[in-house]
Symmetry: C6
Amino acid sequence: MIIKVPSHIPGFDHIADGGLPLGRTTMVSGTAGSAKTILAAQFLAEGIRKAHEPGVFVTFEETAEDLRRNMLGFGWDIAAWEEAGLWAFVDASPEPTWEPVVAGDYDLGALLARIEHATQRVRAQRLAMDSLGAALTRFGEASMLRREMLRIITAFKRLGLTTLLTTERRNEYGRIARCGVEEFVADNVIILRNVLEGEKRRRTLEILKFRGTPHHKGEYPLTIINGEGIVVIPLSAIELKQRSSDVR
Amino acid sequence: MIIKVPSHIPGFDHIADGGLPLGRTTMVSGTAGSAKTILAAQFLAEGIRKAHEPGVFVTFEETAEDLRRNMLGFGWDIAAWEEAGLWAFVDASPEPTWEPVVAGDYDLGALLARIEHATQRVRAQRLAMDSLGAALTRFGEASMLRREMLRIITAFKRLGLTTLLTTERRNEYGRIARCGVEEFVADNVIILRNVLEGEKRRRTLEILKFRGTPHHKGEYPLTIINGEGIVVIPLSAIELKQRSSDVR
Amino acid sequence: MIIKVPSHIPGFDHIADGGLPLGRTTMVSGTAGSAKTILAAQFLAEGIRKAHEPGVFVTFEETAEDLRRNMLGFGWDIAAWEEAGLWAFVDASPEPTWEPVVAGDYDLGALLARIEHATQRVRAQRLAMDSLGAALTRFGEASMLRREMLRIITAFKRLGLTTLLTTERRNEYGRIARCGVEEFVADNVIILRNVLEGEKRRRTLEILKFRGTPHHKGEYPLTIINGEGIVVIPLSAIELKQRSSDVR
Amino acid sequence: MIIKVPSHIPGFDHIADGGLPLGRTTMVSGTAGSAKTILAAQFLAEGIRKAHEPGVFVTFEETAEDLRRNMLGFGWDIAAWEEAGLWAFVDASPEPTWEPVVAGDYDLGALLARIEHATQRVRAQRLAMDSLGAALTRFGEASMLRREMLRIITAFKRLGLTTLLTTERRNEYGRIARCGVEEFVADNVIILRNVLEGEKRRRTLEILKFRGTPHHKGEYPLTIINGEGIVVIPLSAIELKQRSSDVR
Amino acid sequence: MIIKVPSHIPGFDHIADGGLPLGRTTMVSGTAGSAKTILAAQFLAEGIRKAHEPGVFVTFEETAEDLRRNMLGFGWDIAAWEEAGLWAFVDASPEPTWEPVVAGDYDLGALLARIEHATQRVRAQRLAMDSLGAALTRFGEASMLRREMLRIITAFKRLGLTTLLTTERRNEYGRIARCGVEEFVADNVIILRNVLEGEKRRRTLEILKFRGTPHHKGEYPLTIINGEGIVVIPLSAIELKQRSSDVR
Amino acid sequence: MIIKVPSHIPGFDHIADGGLPLGRTTMVSGTAGSAKTILAAQFLAEGIRKAHEPGVFVTFEETAEDLRRNMLGFGWDIAAWEEAGLWAFVDASPEPTWEPVVAGDYDLGALLARIEHATQRVRAQRLAMDSLGAALTRFGEASMLRREMLRIITAFKRLGLTTLLTTERRNEYGRIARCGVEEFVADNVIILRNVLEGEKRRRTLEILKFRGTPHHKGEYPLTIINGEGIVVIPLSAIELKQRSSDVR
Ligand SMILES: Nc1ncnc2c1ncn2[C@@H]1O[C@H](COP(=O)(O)OP(=O)(O)OP(=O)(O)O)[C@@H](O)[C@H]1O
Ligand SMILES: Nc1ncnc2c1ncn2[C@@H]1O[C@H](COP(=O)(O)OP(=O)(O)OP(=O)(O)O)[C@@H](O)[C@H]1O
Ligand SMILES: Nc1ncnc2c1ncn2[C@@H]1O[C@H](COP(=O)(O)OP(=O)(O)OP(=O)(O)O)[C@@H](O)[C@H]1O
Ligand SMILES: Nc1ncnc2c1ncn2[C@@H]1O[C@H](COP(=O)(O)OP(=O)(O)OP(=O)(O)O)[C@@H](O)[C@H]1O
Ligand SMILES: Nc1ncnc2c1ncn2[C@@H]1O[C@H](COP(=O)(O)OP(=O)(O)OP(=O)(O)O)[C@@H](O)[C@H]1O
Ligand SMILES: Nc1ncnc2c1ncn2[C@@H]1O[C@H](COP(=O)(O)OP(=O)(O)OP(=O)(O)O)[C@@H](O)[C@H]1O
Ligand SMILES: [Mg+2]
Ligand SMILES: [Mg+2]
Ligand SMILES: [Mg+2]
Ligand SMILES: [Mg+2]
Ligand SMILES: [Mg+2]
Ligand SMILES: [Mg+2]
């Protein structure tokens, strides 16, 4: 069987039939501003608050400093968790020096070693990596995406880490991710949408794929609440309309 | 005439007018999470349980270990069948080492030899290969797809194996497979769809092509039942609606 | 005037205003499984059965052996016709050896010579070549398609052979063939469609172009009957509906 | 002012407000089988029959021999006109030899000289060149299309020939011609369409552009009548429907 | 403020809130035959007739000789204006020699010098350049379009010339111009459309952008009247319909 | 928390829940003429008039001289503000010399140094950079867009400047910006649209993304008023219609 790790993200575990597959990587794909980073951070935050599971957040563009300030809006005091050894950042965002950071400065192997070290330091059980696209622009080779992504996922599986890996996509209903291979390499795929209809935006979350375990199908409404974070509404949009409590 | 091998996958043999063409390769194309791997595994599982036909499963990304755990959810104890010499894995998934696995490490010829050896070991009659895309990224040359795929199919035909070969596609109604040539090389083509309509997902199976033998045309509803596996509903969607027993 | 050769394919000659233009090549383009090979084989079969016109079938991927078995389903005993010197195969499908078949092993000239030889052997009047795409992947240069296709057609014209040449296309209503030049080089073009509408498939045949001679315009329903072969229904879909005898 | 040459193609001169601009090139663009070659041949045929204006037909793929037979269907005895020195072919179609015809065998300059010579021989006033695409695949450089097309048009203008130059396009409502520059280089552009609607084909002719002179706008129905040739119906489709004499 | 130069093109100045921005370049983009050259020529013609403002017309494909004859249809006697030193042509159209005109024969700098000289000769205040696409195919480098276009515009601005620069586009509602950068470089952009709806053509003019000054938004009907030239109808299509005087 | 800087652009701060995130870069993406430059200039103008916050405007194609004249139409006397040391231009627009400006004349580092110097001179708190596309065509490498854009944003963040950075896009509802990566690199994204519907244009502003802070979702009507500048209407289009005061 596939053991499920309750994420404790409100509404998500119901749709995931229990939570995220233990020790496996789940790809979170979405357009710009579709709440990929919030979902990844909230996965670690809820891990700490509700399951005493330490986490590691690997970031490639948003600096650790920015993330700390951005997530404060949801009441998550990441700095405190770092103090308490419950949260570790691997901040692979570029140095604010003027010299151009040449692609491939660090190779992917060195990066994976840094991550392993951080996970050991806080005895992490949860990992978030944001984003694959940003990583491969500066580490490894974007062109060898299928191979490099497989390497990353295989490494995290060896470490037994339940992982969220964010990927970028350019439209709401088309390719799952940028290169059209990522969704085949990942064991599990979540799609975050931010759909523009009649000048209004509608956020949804869908579990496209969980290898080896059931999950609810289709898109579920999602909302981001200031001071709280993401809440997934476990009623399908249609059922929701019938209840006419438009929470979108 | 073309002899048909009953697959014993619930509902499929009706649509296939008896089953899969004996000793030939059937391509199973579908988007991410459209049940390609489950269909391939179930073909071997039902072969063992209902026809005493041993099988070989060749995997290029999902490890044998992951497949064993993923398929347990349907009650298929692959480890036991391996014990009993009824099921053999050819696990060509990459080593979980840190060094980059260079494409083309093994050439296609060596891989085909390994497969032939495994089929002889269990006197296999059924073969599953998952997936052509993953294989050609690491063996042979993706660019010479038409030639390499023909080589693979010709080799399995020589061995007299009834084979399912999975291929990847990026949209539900467009190209049959990634490169737009695969569907012309294969003798038989099955399309698995996972259609998003009004935020709901609808799974279907279609037999696009059986060279030399009749089959039912068009899409048939398909459902994946925990503890059971794939069930194809041999009524067209329309007939199904009339029966208003929405099994989707 | 352009002399027409009755094909004796049920319903086709009516739409073709008599049959196929004598001594010219007609391109038959269609998606995977749209009955290109059956139409080509049936052209030779009916030639033998109804007009004592021997034929040559040139195949590049489906082996002669497979074709014999595939066409048996329609009651065409090709092996017997070969015995009687009425049917000759030019089997250019790849050897089932393990070594990679390097593209361009044989050049196009040698292939055309082999074909000429076969036509002389059975004093062929009909020729089928299946498919141009498969041929140019292994002979000549796909990139020089316009020139190579013109060479092939000019050669068959010199031999006075009434020819069906199959080409591949990737969608039902878009480009006529793969490279968007084939349909301009051919004297005559037939399009075979296998349209997916509301989960149902609908097969049609259209004569897009006959240089120098009239033909019926638009799509006509087509069905493949086990034990018989292709039957073209010479009523347009609309007229057909009025007759509400849904033969599709 | 721009002097107009009556083409004497039934119905066309009405739409062209008198005929084709004298001494200029008019591009005739259309999909495969949209009657480009018939229109070009009919322009020369009507020139001879109704205006004693000799013509030259330059062909790059369809051989002169094929054209003579194809046009007989409309009652045009081209061979006789050749005898009478009223019609000259420049047959640049490839030799039916087996050796590959290397692109660029003859350069464009030599071809233009051949054409000038033919026009002088019959004191031609009308010229047809079929097709630009076929020409540039074997003469000049397709990549330098804008420059080569301008060279051709400038040369014919210098000779004072009223010319029809056919170009190829791949869809009925999209790019005017293959490379998306031809329609800007030509002084005048005619579009021949063969529209597939509800399984029926509908032929139309449109004058997209006449530099310096008026013409009727939009699509007009066109039909090809065996034994007669092209007839353009000078009523717009809508007016036509009102007259419910469906001539399509 | 931005001073506006009344163009005196009937109906245009109303939509332009006074006319074209003085001393700046306005890009006129449109499909083939959408009246780009007529608008450019009419800008100079009305300048001469209604504002005693001499003009220079730079042409790259249509020869000066052709333009004189083409514009006579509107009653503009360009030859007379040339005589009177009110109109100067810079005819950069290719020589009607047979030798191929190699791209980049003249560099862009030499061309700009020729233009400056012509403007001084007639003390020009208005300039028309038709077309950017044709120019860059033979001068400068089309690939460095953004830089070359900026150079041209900056040069004309230095000369204080109010300029119309035509660019080519391939569809009525999509990219503004060929390379998708032109519209960002130009200070002002006019789009000429020739829309095919239900087999009818409808011409419109739109001022997409005037940097620094107001203008009417959206598409306005446009018609080309023999013997007159372009007339822009300053009522929106909808208002126009209400007035049911269909001038299109 | 994320501190918000009131922009004082009428209607904008309501939608932005207070204003722009302090010290971060907000990308303003839009098609040609969608008011990107006006929004950027108005941000600095309102900063000076309503918050005594000096600003720096970096321009790459529109010269400082043109911008001064273009913005006068809104009553913003930029020259006066420059006198008073409240506004500084970094005019990186090309020299009006004839020699071609070779791409990459200045490297990105030198440019960033020039900008830092200007911000120190006027003790700027606001920065506008118009546009990223124009900049990378002449500085740095457009191909390394992700890296170069990150460098620019990181540099401005180090300087603590609240920045508007304009980017170009080619269609109203498709890619957010030219290369499909910009919107992932920026902390905040505003989309300006100029939608053509039924021949009418409709301007809207949308805050697609603010990292770490709430904002109103969806498109809001926007209008540009001569003598005033941009006014964002804080009612959604639908609410607006109900109020039937069509301000568009
Ligand atoms: N405190 C908050 N309260 C409400 N909504 C917020 C808050 N903070 C952020 N948001 C919303 O979340 C969005 C950003 O979410 P997030 O950064 O996770 O997106 P993302 O998918 O990671 O974007 P990108 O691909 O650009 O990294 C913001 O655009 C905003 O709409
Ligand atoms: N035990 C189960 N019960 C119900 N549904 C399941 C179960 N296990 C898997 N599934 C469903 O099957 C889907 C995965 O099927 P499968 O792995 O065959 O897809 P696939 O087409 O091979 O995907 P990929 O292309 O990524 O390899 C899951 O997304 C889930 O929806
Ligand atoms: N005996 C039969 N009875 C009924 N239908 C048949 C029979 N044999 C084949 N078919 C139908 O014909 C289809 C295959 O036809 P055919 O091989 O001519 O297609 P094709 O266009 O040549 O395909 P490809 O492009 O892959 O070569 C099968 O998919 C099946 O639907
Ligand atoms: N004698 C005839 N009577 C009626 N219709 C005919 C006759 N001859 C040809 N046709 C029609 O004209 C069509 C071919 O016209 P034509 O050869 O001019 O097309 P085309 O545009 O030149 O095609 P291509 O681009 O392939 O050269 C045929 O497909 C047929 O429909
Ligand atoms: N004298 C006239 N009377 C009426 N309409 C005319 C007259 N002369 C030209 N036209 C119309 O103007 C059109 C050509 O206009 P123009 O040459 O300006 O187009 P264009 O946009 O420059 O085309 P291209 O991109 O091919 O250069 C002709 O197609 C015709 O419809
Ligand atoms: N004084 C004014 N009064 C009213 N509208 C104006 C005024 N000045 C400019 N505009 C409008 O603003 C538009 C230009 O805005 P702006 O220059 O900001 O566009 P932009 O997005 O920067 O364009 P580009 O991408 O080409 O630089 C003009 O097309 C015009 O419609
Ligand atoms: Mg993010
Ligand atoms: Mg799988
Ligand atoms: Mg076939
Ligand atoms: Mg033709
Ligand atoms: Mg023009
Ligand atoms: Mg601007």
